[in-house]
Symmetry: C2
């Protein structure tokens, strides 16, 4: 099968690209390299089944060229930064909502009808039901990032109803592992590498997180797209356990052999719009035969090992 | 108080404008007159508390000028056509989602922090809980229109969380009454005026609708903005009863004294994306002390009386 992967040079996109190629598929990779990395595509570029198109998801003409012969779109491009939404109030709208519309409308004109989308567990806002199932009470949005992803979900579902698309909407928890380049674990590692004696932590360290290892995430996406048959398939992807930020700090420090002084900024939220607890009910994806292979601690460990052995990734990240 | 009303020349916008002026407020009306009507503003223009700004909600510069001195924005501008979304897949995105973002960001820059928004009961998709409360199970979108309004809701809630806005998100059923210019009742009246002997009905006539009379709708909006104090106030607005399309046909025919042959197109949906039953739980707005004054039948009657006495509205509607 021939896939288009938008955001192919990103953390999850490049990992998915490698997996699709390894399974014998053709992949057209699409990225504007605003945050994507050339070095994440080194493996993919060795495959004759891979081709790369440089372009933005807002550029429908280049997108249309990239969709030639494509049967399925993994639409992973987007602004993935939850925290600084209020610093650039239009970025999430542009990259995540209008970009998704452009992908959809280009698919419609190109006759491509199947799409998978990287949404977020943040769309549940401050969930009243935890673990949170896909049909939790209608949430209130708490960040521009989540609002932009929810808008993307809505557009995709409307294209399913209006134009006969089939869609897989994945609501992720935080993902980590090889090629991970943002979030708590990355920030903590970078701080401790610079000064092993102290660690600044946003909030009170009690925020609970349910990190999922990237290969487990890809497994779930591939299983879902093979086995789920509804027109609109909405699936939480996360771990069945959670940890506190303080737990992950402990694991990271143990891995690195450091004992820093921890400086908390205080408050239960790391920043305005941070959600102190995202823990998803994953019964739906489990019913399709998926389960995570790695524990949260093992995922954090893999991440630290990756960052230690890939200092250029840490050095060159903005 | 000084209000900005976007979509001031529309059905609901012009009615709200007249009510705000009658209550002694100042109103800056904003409309691009794409569907708004000059004659709906004849009464407002007699007031020295009214000023009109011609502009599109995508034009942030003109919007910013209109917001000078404004304390509260009723953002009612938008594409209100649910049915033909698939004929112009970008229109809802532009007018309802990007337009709402432009209004919000202009408010932020202008220091205006309170907004009311006309959303829709269609955001519940094919609701599993009926009557549908505001915290119904997380829905799947079924039309580009509803998806674009849900995206607007999400943006507004995110601006509340990120920038300290206060918002009133109104999820309307179909509204009718004086100045009503689209929907079943309008279509039926126009058909029967042209040929009283036959009536073409989309679907099977069994679609259930919970029409609300426009002045009851305005009452609810004014009560909510005076009495509800949360940061994000989400309120269903609808009647506590419903009728079938066939009921409204009977009332219209009785009002007009005609007995047409009814030609159903068949199927439980009037069109792809039509929802055969939107019936909202209105306990939340009722708890604020509101109730509708007119029955659904009385609302339909008022509408027909208006259309009969305002033939130019029917004649000049596209």
């Amino acid at each position: 099968m021939r896939y288009l992967v938008t955001g192919c040079a990103g953390f999850i996109g490049s990992t998915l690209t490698d997996r699709l190629l390894a399974a014998g598929h053709e992949v057209v990779g699409y990225d504007n390299f605003s945050t994507g990395r050339e070095d994440f595509l080194l493996l993919a570029r060795q495959s004759r089944n891979f081709s790369l198109v440089r372009g933005d998801v807002l550029d429908s003409q280049t997108l249309a060229q990239a969709m030639d012969g494509v049967e399925f779109v993994f639409h992973l491009a987007g602004n993935a930064d939850v925290r600084f939404g209020t610093a650039h109030p239009r970025k999430d709208l542009e990259q995540n909502t209008i970009g998704t519309h452009t992908v959809l409308d280009t698919m419609r004109r190109s006759g491509v009808r199947r799409i998978a989308f990287s949404s977020t567990g943040s769309v549940y806002g401050e969930a009243r039901v935890i673990p949170t199932p896909e049909d939790a009470p209608f949430p209130v949005q708490t960040s521009l990032y989540a609002a932009s992803k929810l808008a993307g979900e809505g557009l995709i579902a409307a294209f399913c109803a209006g134009f006969g698309f089939q869609a897989y909407l994945f609501r992720f928890v935080s993902i980590l592992g090889e090629r991970y380049t943002h979030g708590h674990v990355f920030d903590f590692y970078r701080q401790l590498r610079a000064h092993p004696d102290r660690l600044a932590v946003l909030g009170d360290g009690r925020q609970r997180k349910s990190y999922l290892y990237v290969q487990d995430c890809i497994n779930a996406m591939l299983i879902a797209t093979q086995r789920a048959c509804d027109s609109v398939n909405i699936l939480n992807l996360g771990h069945d356990t959670y940890c506190e930020v303080n737990d992950s700090i402990g694991w990271i420090c143990a891995e690195l052999g450091v004992t820093p002084r921890i400086e908390y900024s205080g408050g239960e939220r790391g920043w305005a719009g941070d959600n102190p607890f995202i823990f998803l009910d994953t019964a739906r994806i489990r019913a399709l035969g998926w389960k995570p292979m790695l524990s949260i601690r093992e995922g954090v460990g893999k991440t630290i090992q990756y960052l230690r052995t890939h200092p250029h990734v840490v050095d060159t990240h903005p």
